[in-house]
């Protein structure tokens, strides 16, 4: 890690001493250079390269920010610290010529760095703020400073275990579970824990807290790859929930430059449009925005599979959507007693 950052420094340093305006080469992240790779079953960057050139008046500021961010990352790695994206943004404050206008800009430069160095930001110890959680029979061994070698079982804490830097960087020791059940919401996660869904389905439960953070996608990928556990994803029945599932399965365009974050064999088990009909779920009408999004998804190359096209059509036809909590209509245990068995059995 340190090497790649130092290498970047050397490159720029040499350009300057050669009286060249420094520049770097990287894969283009423009939309026309992001393509779906059916073999990898995820988005990948195409072959087009761009230069970020300090001679270009519109590039010099982001170029400078990139160099500073690389330095900041090197500091983190050297001192075994972690940082949130927001802390990176704030750390630039006060450096008058680097200061970001907003966090979006800062996050974007960090992604540039990932592309330029071909590494995930987690490798540079930079994490997002979102908190997802995990629960189930999985024993892990910590690697964070002060906890090296300590083990814990993820059923130890009945409220579930937060996925922070410590879980992300831990080794997985053993599990008796035979599947992974991913839900998008904390409330449903608590419901599943309370209803002992991990026992009933012999599953590791994960909640993503909305769109899944990359660290959590990485954990899902590891559980699927290392332990051969099938992964089932259970989201709201709306375009946003559907896409949460798809990003776990096939990744996002934003992370086209990274590998190891997708789980192409994971299955989205609901809430389907057909569930709305079959279970007579309470619904909300689709908004104009939902509509637009559903139509976009229909044309997205990740959604070519039959199930996806069928369900997208059902939502568009029904003009309705449903949340996970919609099953509460039939009582709090219905989802564990009836719905999930039916779905996981199929």
């Amino acid at each position: 890690m340190e090497q790649s950052l130092t290498g970047l420094g050397n490159l720029i340093y040499e350009q300057i001493t050669n009286h060249e305006f420094p520049w770097i080469h990287m894969q283009s992240r423009s939309t026309d250079n992001i393509m779906y790779d059916p073999e990898e079953r995820q988005y990948v960057l195409g072959p087009r390269m761009i230069r970020r050139h300090s001679r270009n008046i519109r590039h010099i500021r982001p170029f400078t920010q990139l160099v500073w961010t690389a330095w900041f990352a090197k500091e983190l790695v050297m001192h075994r610290k972690t940082s949130t994206l927001r802390e990176v943004y704030y750390s630039a404050r006060g450096h008058r010529d680097i200061e970001y206008n907003n966090q979006q800009e800062s996050d974007n430069i960090i992604t540039d760095m990932e592309v330029a160095l071909n590494r995930a930001r987690e490798d540079f110890h930079i994490f997002p703020e979102e908190r997802s959680a995990i629960f189930g029979d999985l024993t892990i061994e910590y690697t964070v400073p002060g906890y090296e070698g300590r083990r814990t079982n993820l059923t130890d804490h009945p409220d579930g275990v937060m996925i922070g830097p410590a879980v992300t960087s831990s080794e997985f020791v053993e599990t008796s579970a035979d599947k992974v059940l991913v839900v998008e919401k904390g409330a449903m996660f608590t419901r599943l824990v309370e209803e002992r869904a991990h026992d009933k389905f012999n599953a590791i439960l994960i909640h993503t807290a909305g769109q899944s953070p990359r660290a959590t996608r990485g954990i899902i990928n590891r559980l699927n790859q290392d332990y051969d556990l099938p992964v089932y994803i259970f989201t709201d029945g709306d375009p946003w929930g559907i896409h949460i599932a798809m990003v776990i399965i096939s990744g996002s365009a934003n992370a086209a430059h990274l590998r190891g974050l997708t789980t192409p064999d994971a299955e989205w088990i609901g809430v389907w449009g057909t569930d709305i009909i079959d279970y007579k779920l309470p619904t909300e009408p689709l908004t104009e925005f939902d509509h637009k999004r559903l139509r976009e998804l229909k044309n997205d190359p990740r959604y070519t599979g039959d199930i996806w096209q069928r369900e997208l059509d059902v939502f568009l036809k029904l003009e309705q959507k449903a949340e996970l909590e919609a099953f509460s209509r039939y009582g709090l245990t219905y989802i564990v007693d009836e719905y999930l068995p039916a779905k996981l059995g199929s």
């Binding site: 950052l5 982001p62 330095w71």
Partner: protein
């Protein structure tokens, strides 16, 4: 069953009964209209005389113990114009539909009503006579008169003839009228200010009822050329005019008739036109049937070969004078944009007209006029202040032009001034406050504004480019040291020397542009 009575009334009686259609609808508006009509007559008289106008206007409050907003005022106006020959004085000021304005050349008033209407209004509100003193250079004639409204003629109360040893030439008029000054004060001053703007060769002096003196001094002695009377242009002439010309002509055949009585019609044009009209070139005009006349008239609108109308009957302000007037009035600096356009003459319904337009923008305009568009409208050098949004200029500026293409947003400060001069301004009402949207006029106004605005986009772009070059020279000096610092920290090296790089960019702009070409083209990063 009632008996229906029939009767005729005089023109003076008609306008007495319908004075609001001439702009005398209420005391404040009447005050404004009276001043306007009298000032315009004076300006016309001076220009006819080829002297730079000196117009003096005074309004005084006549002692009036009533405590109302409506009061009796005395209006006095003096000019150094041609003067009115004594035999014409009574009719000119006391007869509706009499004057010097019923011929085909540009003059400010075109209805020939204004002066007489002011006198009429004064008379019916105060029952006081009007006093006119005038000389064409010889004796000075002083008339005291009233209008015999029922018979539309002057009734002369007094006529004094005086010697004129100093050779004074000009006209002074004094009348009393009921008015309301306080409500119209600001409009009156705005009117005089805008008049000064498009008549930069005139001196205007105004003493208001509160004794305040307003002086609008001339900026040049140069007068625009005097408009000439001309023959009518054939395009759009109407049947009545055609018939009158036939009644009066001495020519024996239609070819000669066309060449003799219309502008710019030579033998070839006459032949081609008559061929289109299906009228024989040899036909005697006097024997033309009504159908032939109608055919000929309708053909004038379809025949496209006529020359543009003769502009010698028109007197546009001219690009130079108009620019001077506007710059002076708006205090524009070199930093601001102004462009004035005088269009070629055009014609509507047989009347020639010329449109002039100015567009101004920049920092000064923003300071004085705020955000958005300000429109100044002029017709034959008269400012139009009322009913802006009903007129053709407003329509052209707001509806016909897509300002986006000029980089003008709704909050851009923009001044548009449009001057239309014509032998006949297409006013929509006798009150002369806005112009009807005759298609030809609308098109010319739109094109004039477009032409004057053409440089606006370039002006904004240039200002933007200058600002950008300033930033550009700055930016390398700002970022290169930071790149050097942190890349050296990353590489764990000493800080490298960036002076050679800064030397490349610290030369002046043209050189930079040249050097830039030597650097290999950079592929645009469209993901940003």
């Amino acid at each position: 069953m009632s008996q229906t009575e029939y009767q005729s009334i005089s023109p003076a009686d008609f306008f007495y009964r319908n004075r609001e259609i001439a702009g005398f609808s209420n005391p404040s508006r009447a005050t404004y209209t009276a001043v306007r009509e009298l000032v315009e007559n004076s300006m016309d008289a001076c220009e006819a005389q080829r002297v730079p106008p000196e117009v003096y206007l005074r309004i005084t409050e006549v002692d009036d113990h009533r405590d109302t907003e409506t009061k009796i005022y005395k209006l006095r106006i003096e000019d150094n114009g041609t003067g009115v020959p004594s035999e014409h004085i009574p009719q000119t000021f006391c007869q509706v539909f009499y004057g010097s304005k019923y011929i085909l050349k540009q003059a400010r008033g075109t209805f020939g009503l204004g002066g007489t209407m002011a006198v009429l209004y004064g008379q019916i509100t105060t029952h006081k006579p009007v006093q006119v003193i005038s000389s064409t250079g010889g004796e000075i004639h002083e008339f005291t008169m009233m209008i015999d409204i029922q018979n539309n003629r002057a009734s002369i109360l007094k006529h004094i003839i005086r010697q004129n040893p100093s050779g004074w030439r000009g006209t002074a008029l004094e009348l009393q009228m009921e008015g309301d000054y306080s409500r119209i004060m600001y409009r009156l001053i705005e009117y005089l200010k805008q008049t000064a703007m498009v008549n930069p060769y005139a001196d205007l002096t105004y003493v208001d009822p509160r004794g305040r003196l307003y002086k609008f001094e001339r900026g040049t002695e140069k007068l625009p050329p005097l408009p000439q009377s001309v023959k009518p242009h054939p395009h759009g002439v109407d049947v009545e005019t055609f018939r009158r010309l036939i009644a009066a002509t001495k020519t024996r055949n239609m070819k000669g008739f066309m060449m003799e009585h219309f502008q710019g019609v030579g033998p070839t044009t006459a032949e081609k036109f008559l061929d289109l009209a299906d009228v024989s070139t040899k036909a005697n005009p006097k024997t033309l049937s009504p159908e032939d006349i109608v055919k000929a008239v309708r053909a004038t609108r379809e025949y496209t070969g006529f020359k543009r109308p003769d502009a010698s009957c028109l007197s546009p302000i001219g690009e130079e004078l108009l620019e001077t007037g506007i710059k002076k009035e708006l205090n524009l600096t070199e930093e601001d944009y102004i462009k004035v356009v005088t269009r070629k003459p055009s014609t509507y319904l047989g009347f020639p007209f010329v449109v002039e337009a100015a567009v101004a923008t920049g920092r000064t305009v923003r300071k004085t006029h705020g955000a958005g568009m300000t429109i100044y409208r002029f017709a034959n050098r008269i400012p139009l202040l009322f009913d802006e949004s009903s007129g053709v200029v407003w329509k052209a500026a707001n509806k016909n032009i897509n300002w986006k293409t000029y980089n003008v947003e709704s909050d851009t400060s923009l001044v548009i001034a449009v001057h239309i001069c014509s032998t006949k301004i297409p006013y929509k009402s006798v009150g002369k406050e806005y112009m009807a949207d005759q298609p030809e006029v609308e098109k010319e106004v739109t094109n004039a504004i477009r032409e004057a605005a053409r440089g606006v986009r370039r002006y904004f772009n240039r200002r933007f480019r200058i600002a950008r070059e300033h930033r550009r020279l700055n930016i390398f000096g700002k970022f290169l040291p930071v790149i050097a610092e942190f890349s050296s920290k990353l590489a764990e090296q000493e800080i490298p020397d960036i002076e050679p790089l800064l030397a490349v960019v610290s030369t002046d702009i043209p050189e930079v542009e040249k050097k830039l070409k030597e650097v290999p083209e950079i592929v645009e990063d469209t993901s940003k």
